[in-house]
Subunit: 341 residues, 2 copies
């Protein structure tokens, strides 16, 4: 593969190169990449802003993460935060820092993923920064979105009797990570062995190429459902439900048999002798949405096969419970649940 | 000095700790730190967005940069980009990553500087991210600002006959860096010797605690002056003028004797046998503004003692010249000027 040294382009040349095919899709993008700052016209809407920092060796492992997927995921995890506010993402800025082991071709691959995400989610890349790093690859993304004034949804509004809903499936990304870490270990001990991930493309895809919940937010708007609270599942369902309960000053009960677990995840969990329920509760990085709705919206919600109703909100402040298939009740913990009760 | 391990607080505890005194100053900040994203109401204005990544060992040296100053500067350099659009900064997000050599007290110092800058420039800290790093301290700041619709100023509008103006003084930060790097070298070779910077507080301050040009933008608005192009001086005056000329498809002539150089900078340059003019043209990080105005605004401009008119725009595309005190004409280069002509 060809290798072009980044120094051969210079900083401005590199930025020109990386943004040469950058398209503008949003009417609100008045001025994009190439000046001191970008300019956005929000036409009377409110602006939603979220930011994330992703560090090689902490948030991702380039040994098994293709750069294109990394670019895609870096954007998606930020858009996920915007959707979690009941808003629609419109623009991103992306800054990267890289050591001299990276070539222009490597950065191109990364940006291919960034642009693919921009296209899929209809957002504009409007700015950023490029820099050297002393070690590793560093990514900072800021996403902007728009929301009809005061229609944003925080973590604070859940109330007694509200139903707890979750999009898609849970636990897959954690199982994908477990598989890739296992294969990495085997490879490091025995570099001749090529890892075979063919049969586990579902869980590997969940980790390496997550999607943000654009359709769910569209569904809520189309059906005139205003969640009372919402957040995205990045740390794990238990942790997020505990958050919502703490901020909303309420409790929650969820049912083990309602947790949406993909068949491929369940099978792979069994293979590793892991409990699929524990993976669904505590595995992070699924980038699904967990939200609460008023009971009267239940009839509308069941129309959507991609959304599961998994429990309800109680008035017991910060008491978060799971009722198992066997009928036992345990406290939810940010890491596993506590068998002492 | 006390040392609290960051792990003792946990990630959410750390964020609570660092943002416990966070105040909201802007009416447009509808929702601040603590949810998936922040929400801003722009009340019919346009939003301006800029972002920067600052990496230890590349952009700053903690050996001679107090963390409080670093926090302050990290904010200021971003606000500088917002002012350079003729906009007023309103909000920032700040993300940091740090290795385990940092304590809670160290991060507190950094945030003291961040909050001091927020207060001085009347901006709200509305979000961010904290993370571990494998090595060193990493900072990512995104600044948002507002501007009356279509009153933003880019690098593209300079036209023949326009006057080139610059705020404040140039070259000081570069001389401060030169001094600190020299003292660092002496100290490393001879750790017993304490560096004495007492007499050079001006140039050291220019590097470690720069300010953004809030008053200049206020002056332009108060006096109804709309620059035809503008950018901030982060890479060096020559480089910025070349940029404006390339983007505006014009040329420029500036006069050596009009370059604003502080007396302390001039003295210290002589001491090091450096040419003060070269420091002013090529030293970066001054965070002054360079901009162009129509000739008819000249009478208003001279009322401001903090702004110097240093030259004019020509129609010779990308021809950028300096006329020396001795009457010679040289090409401006991004690094020094070319004596070959």
């Amino acid at each position: 593969m060809e290798r072009t040294e980044i120094n051969s382009l210079g900083e401005f040349g590199l930025i020109d190169h990386l943004t040469r095919n950058n398209e503008t899709r949003q009417a609100s993008t008045i001025l994009s990449v190439g000046d001191d700052a970008a300019v956005i016209d929000t036409f009377g809407k409110q602006t939603v802003v979220s930011t994330d920092l992703l560090i090689e060796g902490i948030h991702f492992d380039l040994m098994y993460t293709p750069l294109k997927h990394l670019g895609y995921k870096s954007v998606v995890v930020n858009l996920s935060d915007i959707y979690a506010m009941n808003a629609v993402p419109t623009q991103i800025t992306i800054s990267i820092a890289f050591s001299n082991r990276f070539s222009v071709e490597a950065l191109d691959e990364f940006y291919e993923g960034v642009y693919a995400a921009c296209e899929k989610y209809n957002v504009d890349l409007i700015g950023g920064d490029t820099s050297s790093s002393q070690k590793g690859f560093i990514i900072s993304v800021t996403a902007l979105g728009e929301v009809v004034p005061d229609k944003f949804v925080t973590r604070k509004g859940a109330q007694k009797g509200d139903l707890i809903c979750v999009t898609g499936f849970l636990g897959g990304a954690f199982l994908g990570l477990t598989l890739l870490e296992r294969e990495k270990k085997i490879y490091l001990e025995n570099p001749g062995v090529q890892p075979d991930l063919e049969n586990e493309s579902y869980i590997v895809g969940r980790l390496l190429k997550p999607e943000a919940q654009k359709e769910a937010i569209q569904f809520l708007q189309d059906n005139d459902i205003m969640p009372t609270s919402m957040m995205d599942v990045s740390d794990g369902l238990s942790s997020e439900i505990i958050h919502i309960c703490r901020q909303s000053q309420c409790g929650a009960v969820i049912y083990e048999d309602k947790l949406p677990i993909h068949e491929d995840s369940r099978m792979f969990a069994y293979k590793l002798e892991l409990d699929p329920t524990m993976c669904a509760l505590n595995g992070g990085e699924d980038y699904e949405l967990v939200f609460t709705i008023k009971q009267e919206d239940y009839e509308k919600m069941v129309l959507n096969e991609n959304i599961s109703v998994i429990g309800y909100i109680t008035e017991d402040i910060e008491k978060t419970k799971i009722i198992t298939k066997g009928g036992n009740t345990y406290d939810l913990k940010a890491q596993g649940w506590n068998h002492s009760k």
